[in-house]
Amino acid sequence: MSSTSAPLSRQGLSALEAPSGAGASGARDFAHYLARKLAAAVVSFMMLLVVGFIIFSLMPSNPVEALTRGRPTSPKQLAFLTKQLGLNQPVWERFGHFVANTFQGHLGYSWQFETPVATLIAQRLWPTLLLMGSSTIVSILVGMWLGIHSGWRPGRLLDRVSTGAAITFWSVPTFWLGIILLVVFSVGFGPIPALFPAGGMSTPGTAGGLSPAHILDVGRHLVLPCLTLVLVVFAQYQMIMRSSMIDELGSPYLLTARAKGLRDVEVRQRHAVPNALLPTVTLIFLQVGTMISGAITVETVYSWPGLGYLTFQALQIPDLPLLEGTFIIFSASVIVFNLLADLAYRWLDPRVRRA
């Protein structure tokens, strides 16, 4: 295990060790296990609220000033804000209000859009889910296919080429890759015509709804941002799948399968792949952190109207209540998916279930 610090946008591999250790530590039955994991998730969420409170409420020396930076505000508004933020109350009371508000879904009021933060997040959630969901599915398919084939015959041409490509895309900044794809496929470069639209989620002026034309339009807008995320993310699936395939290569049960007279393809698909699948499945849940970081920069490049672009828009002011809202939503979803990873791991691996 080499636990080196990953850059901001590349997480997941280091977190992969967590479920295996946690699963093996011997809870008696599933209810016990579930209760423990749920409790841990609740503690994580409370810690998130503490950190969010420290960053957004305690760190700005004068939150009212920070909130209204660059905006003309009357003394009356300032006094109203001070009261609204409860800055005249003790810290513990303020934290209590903050926690209560968060649990009720009150995430504050965006200065830039003059709308409740919760409403904005609800509006921008669907584009982000579409982008992250589609790129996750494509990355899994591409990464697993490459991982299975390069791991089954390590050292062959496919292995060397695909591993090299994976490592290269891994060390390139996501936003830069996005811009390069934008220049090449959307502006047009040399003999390549402008194939895809440059930004947004649909062509302005077209009708929305579920008409086939609109779905096709959204699909065309989705291609480049999705491709960018896939190029960055597929490497993890490939590398994990490859190394677990290599781990299975020497297993006695494969020898048995071969001795029965099964063809190579059958040995691979029926026997090796199902056993090698486990780490990759948990990786899907643990990749959420990476996907979120990727979504922030990719949505910015393509002005894709999701939560990542919303974060970028909030940064330009900076619109602190909105930033706080997206920070809490992003982090909370990672906590939820880590919990799901633990549960999936236990459900899928009978050894852990029995332990």
Binding site: M1, S2, S3, T4, S5, A6, P7, L8, S9, R10, Q11, S14, A15, A18, S44, L48, V51, G52, I55, F56, M59, P60, A66, S171, V172, P173, T174, F175, W176, L177, I179, I180, L182, V183, V187, G188, F189, S243, V288, G289, I292, S293, I296, T297, T300, T311, F312, A314, L315, P318, L320, L323, E324, T326, F327, F330, S331, V334, I335, N338
Partner: protein, 300 residues
């Protein structure tokens, strides 16, 4: 990682010998030497930049060329949105990237090592609490946290540096804790304890020197990550707005209309520069890691 691997010798002459052996092994790896060459070249360029680049070359007003002009004899890499030479900006951009990367890594190492050593040495409740916090930070998505911190602290190099350090220490803390546990299981620690060494003495005089090589490896790889993080945050507009950096160059290329005009000469260079520097640190870091721990899976 378990206890039984490498054993840097304790006395001075063997330690010098170990260093020589390390240098020989390092020089025998072409990838390691390539990485070292890249890093030396980039560092020299960054340090020498003020000798041949004048502040006037970097000023947005009265820039020497046409805005967004393709490469020419006078401007080998073309010009930016204000008419400045991209080559000049590119060379100058090495400075903030390297400086922030190295300083943020220094902070990361101090924070991560202190927490890792404390958790590894004291064990029990201290370890459990520290590791719970570490794991929590590892699980949290780093970019939103860094964005939140940098936004609250205000635009600028200092807030980017702090944001990177706060989000990247947990990996180091985990590594150092594991190494501390491995070192403390060895007999010479028991000997030192029997001779009456106190906790502080034990950690600083016995454990730290043996963990130091791993701090070195971790820091080389952390610099690579920190530079990527720095460019990401600068791209999002969190950097010093008047400073020239690779991240801000890419930001300007996107938002000042260069990308929609297909100005590839504006976008390509900063990205390739980032790739080369990150690659240099990664190559050196991986080589050192492999020499110190030969059992590590991966390339020879």
């Amino acid at each position: 990682m378990t206890a039984t691997t490498q054993a840097p010798a304790a006395a001075a002459p063997p330690r010098l010998q170990a260093l020589r052996r390390f240098a020989r092994q390092f020089a025998a790896r072409p990838t390691a030497m390539a990485g070292l060459l890249i890093l030396t070249a980039v560092t020299v360029l960054a340090l020498a930049a003020p000798l041949f680049i004048h502040p006037a070359d970097l000023a947005v007003v009265n820039a020497p060329g046409q805005p967004i002009a393709p490469p020419s004899l006078r401007f080998p890499l073309g010009t930016d949105y204000a008419g400045r030479s991209i080559l000049t900006l590119l060379i100058w951009g090495t400075r903030p990237s390297l400086a922030i990367g190295v300083i943020a890594t220094g902070l990361t190492m101090i924070l991560g090592s202190v927490i890792g050593l404390l958790a590894g040495h004291y064990g029990g409740m201290v370890s459990r609490v520290l590791m719970a916090v570490t794991d929590w930070f590892i699980a949290l998505p780093a970019l939103p946290l860094a964005i939140a911190l940098a936004a609250v602290l205000g635009q600028g190099d200092v807030s980017i540096t702090i944001a990177i350090a706060v989000t990247s220490w947990p990996g180091t803390a985990r590594l150092i804790r594991a190494q501390t546990l491995a070192v403390e299981a060895r007999p010479f620690i028991e000997r030192a304890r029997a001779l009456g060494a106190r906790d502080g003495q034990l950690v600083v005089r016995q454990v730290l020197p043996n963990v130091a090589p791993f701090i070195l490896v971790s820091s080389t790889l952390t610099v690579a990550g920190a530079i990527l993080s720095e460019t990401t945050l600068a791209f999002l507009g969190l950097g010093n707005p008047i400073e020239v950096s690779w991240g801000s160059m890419i930001n300007q290329a996107l938002f000042q209309g260069a990308v929609t005009r297909g100005a590839w000469w504006y976008v390509l260079p900063p990205g390739i520069a980032i790739l080369i520097v990150v690659l240099g640190f990664t190559l050196v870091g991986r080589a050192v890691e492999n020499i110190l721990n030969p059992r590590l899976p991966g390339q020879a």
